[in-house]
């Protein structure tokens, strides 16, 4: 009944922090993966796994920004696709240099975020619906740009992506850059305000926080990370596909939730989402290398993810104090 506070609370708080769930799942996944695939820790294998993981990690970071601020971004998958088809078609059909194409591709993605942010924060339409409609629109645009899978980016680009730099896998460096980019936002006022607005928009407003601006920025952030993911994915697969990003919207949300971020907003962390995203990639690996018959792979990986989600949910419910609905 009485609230007691002691010095070791900080330690327990770290262990009870929601991000832990994502990382525990990741470690469990890593162990399981290492058992079924002994070559897991060979540099080339790490390299290819991270190459697969980097785009999802980036989308998940951006999605975390939108979710923390109390919203959601279903258009991230479409943005990944948009960047991919734009870069590839500029490179192979319009003879644009790769780097210029890359900049244009990312800029287009960010522009989508600006439109999302404008409609959600200024016109004030629920985020789920706006980004859902935007998904349909942007997928249409991508299909118009590149109706069939195809095209090619310069070979040296995807060779760099699959290679190592100073002994470190290049995709790992990209992930680190992505996380650093997030850190730049997180420890400024904007990062704080994302969490404040997502946790209690009314209170934030009363404290003079520019709620509209913060919401707007969260969608620009989300789109920026999604378009960077699109760029990475382009480097990974080296060609264009108008359906390439379809799975990212929902997978990034799964990563965010597995990483202990509340979909209602206001609490959670990017580090958890990164853990969650890596876990999702590992699950695919495990199922593949554990010699699960091919028809069973979808089922098994689906079951693992659902169990992970349920565990996250139960742990949350246990930590009780967060549940304000059944307050004292």
């Amino acid at each position: 009944m009485r609230t007691r506070f002691s010095s070791n609370q900080t330690a327990t708080r770290i262990f009870r922090s929601p991000a832990m769930i994502g990382w525990v799942l990741f470690l469990l996944g890593l162990v399981a993966n290492a058992i079924v695939q002994p070559t897991l820790f060979k540099l080339s294998v790490i390299n290819s796994n991270l190459g697969l993981a980097a785009p999802l990690v980036m989308v998940a970071i951006g999605q975390t920004a939108a979710v923390l601020a109390g919203g959601i971004d279903l258009s991230v998958g479409a943005i990944v696709t948009l960047t991919n088809v734009l870069v590839v078609s500029l490179c192979s059909f319009h003879h644009t240099g790769f780097w210029l194409a890359a900049i244009l591709g990312v800029a287009a993605g960010i522009a989508v975020g600006v439109v999302n942010g404008f409609i959600i924060s200024i016109v004030r339409i629920p985020a789920l619906l706006v980004t859902f409609a935007m998904m349909s629109i942007i997928n249409g645009v991508a299909l118009a740009i590149l109706p069939q899978p195809g095209g090619q980016i310069p070979a040296d680009i995807y060779q760099i992506y699959g290679n190592t730099v100073a002994g470190l896998p290049f995709p790992l460096l990209l992930i680190i850059v992505g996380v650093l980019l997030w850190v730049v936002f997180r420890y400024r006022k904007i990062g704080r305000y994302l969490i404040a607005v997502g946790g209690a928009a009314g209170s934030s407003r009363a404290n003079g926080i520019p709620v509209t601006k913060v919401r707007f920025q969260s969608y620009v952030l989300s789109a920026m990370f999604a378009s960077l993911a699109g760029l990475f994915l382009t480097a990974e697969v080296s060609s264009g596909d108008p359906l390439i990003g379809a799975s990212y919207a929902l997978n990034s949300l799964a990563a965010v939730v597995l990483g202990g971020t509340a979909l209602a907003g206001g609490r959670g962390s990017v580090s958890g989402s990164v853990g969650g995203a890596l876990f999702l990639i590992l699950v695919q690996n495990i199922v593949y290398f554990a010699n699960v018959p091919s028809y069973y792979q979808t089922l098994v990986s689906g079951l693992i993810v659902v169990m992970g989600l349920a565990t996250t949910g139960v742990l949350y419910a246990r930590s009780g104090k967060w549940r304000l609905t059944n307050g004292r």
Binding site: I125, P126, L129, M135, L299, G302, V306, G313
Partner: protein, 323 residues
């Protein structure tokens, strides 16, 4: 200024008005279709449009209940359940009328059970509905793969095929079936204890719990009902297409949510109803058909679908300003 304010308020607040708008837009779209092509407004084409709407409408029935139940309720697994149901009915009945009944019973039971799993994960394990039903989709898709070994067999028994494509007195059976479902759902929502409590609990779950409503039973049951309606949709879809292939239900996932919202049901729960969803389903079907009539490619259709959705939602889901 005062007038526009009042108009905005009306538009923003009353779900009955958004229903009016949806009806208006649906009629307008039909008229536009008629202007481009006389055949578009012929009775047979209109009935055909209604028949196509009926499948989306049924798929969105469970979605409506789930969204109404609040707690950010949404069911993204309906696509997978529809696919599984079509596959189950087709493989068990193997095209024979005699085996149709057991096939239907098994399919409905499976649909309800999957819905129950959704509901339990959401209510007991506190997984957000969006994520739980999404996770279940991939599990169910996995079940379909395992069950069919990648190649669905069988076909619709003649009776089911007749139901899916046949007519009585010139009216497709599908429309009649849908009308019956609509009547029942409308009655349940308006007059039965379940329906009334659904609106209240959807508005404020904690208040519902404290006033003695069996919230767990209600919410979990609603997800089970959604599974039931998805199973029905899958069975009728099989009748409509006669054979089945993998993931046929996927096309219904997002349109079902769109139909619910366009019909004026609040995504936050507690406000709306199935009649709105019926109009929403018709509107979306007419729009899609119109775009096809105008020979728009898939890309343009996607873009216009999205823009129309965005405009409609801007009209009636605008949030009040904080101050």
């Amino acid at each position: 200024m005062a007038f526009t304010e009042r108009v905005k308020q009306r538009l923003g607040q009353s779900s009955r008005n958004s229903l009016g708008i949806a009806v208006g837009v649906a009629v307008l779209l039909t008229a536009v279709g008629g202007a481009f092509n006389r055949g578009f407004v012929s009775p047979s084409n209109l009935l055909n449009l209604l028949a196509i709407s009926s499948l989306l409408g049924l798929a969105a029935a469970g979605q409506t209940l789930v969204v109404l139940s609040g707690g950010e309720g949404i069911d993204l697994s309906i696509g997978a359940v529809i696919s599984l149901s079509a596959v189950l009915t087709s493989q068990i009945s193997n095209g024979q009328n005699g085996l149709l009944l057991p096939a239907v019973v098994v399919t409905l039971v499976v649909g309800v059970l999957l819905g129950l799993v959704n509901g339990l994960g959401i209510y007991l394990a506190q997984v957000p509905p969006l994520i739980m039903t999404l996770g279940m989709s991939s599990v169910i898709e996995g079940i379909v793969l395992v069950y069919t070994q990648g190649q669905p067999k069988g076909q619709a028994p003649p009776f089911l095929a007749a139901l899916g494509t046949g007519q009585v007195l010139g009216i497709p059976w599908l429309i009649i079936v849908w009308a019956m479902f609509t009547l029942i759902i409308w009655y349940v929502l308006k007059y039965l204890v379940y329906g009334r409590l659904l609106f209240l609990v959807g508005d404020n779950r904690s208040a519902g719990r404290m006033s003695g409503v069996p919230v767990a039973k209600l919410v979990v049951g609603t997800y089970a009902l959604s599974g039931f309606f998805s199973a029905c949709t899958g069975i009728l879809f099989l009748g409509y297409t006669n054979t089945t292939y993998l993931n046929i239900g996927d096309v219904y996932i997002l349109p079902s949510v769109a139909a619910v919202v366009v019909g004026g049901t609040a995504l936050s729960g507690g406000r709306g109803g199935y009649i709105g969803t019926v109009v929403g389903a018709i509107l979306l079907t007419v729009l899609d058909s119109l775009l096809t009539t105008l020979h728009m490619g898939e890309a343009t259709r996607g873009i216009i679908n999205g823009v129309v959705l965005l405009v409609l939602l801007s009209i009636y889901t605008r949030q009040p300003k904080d101050a």
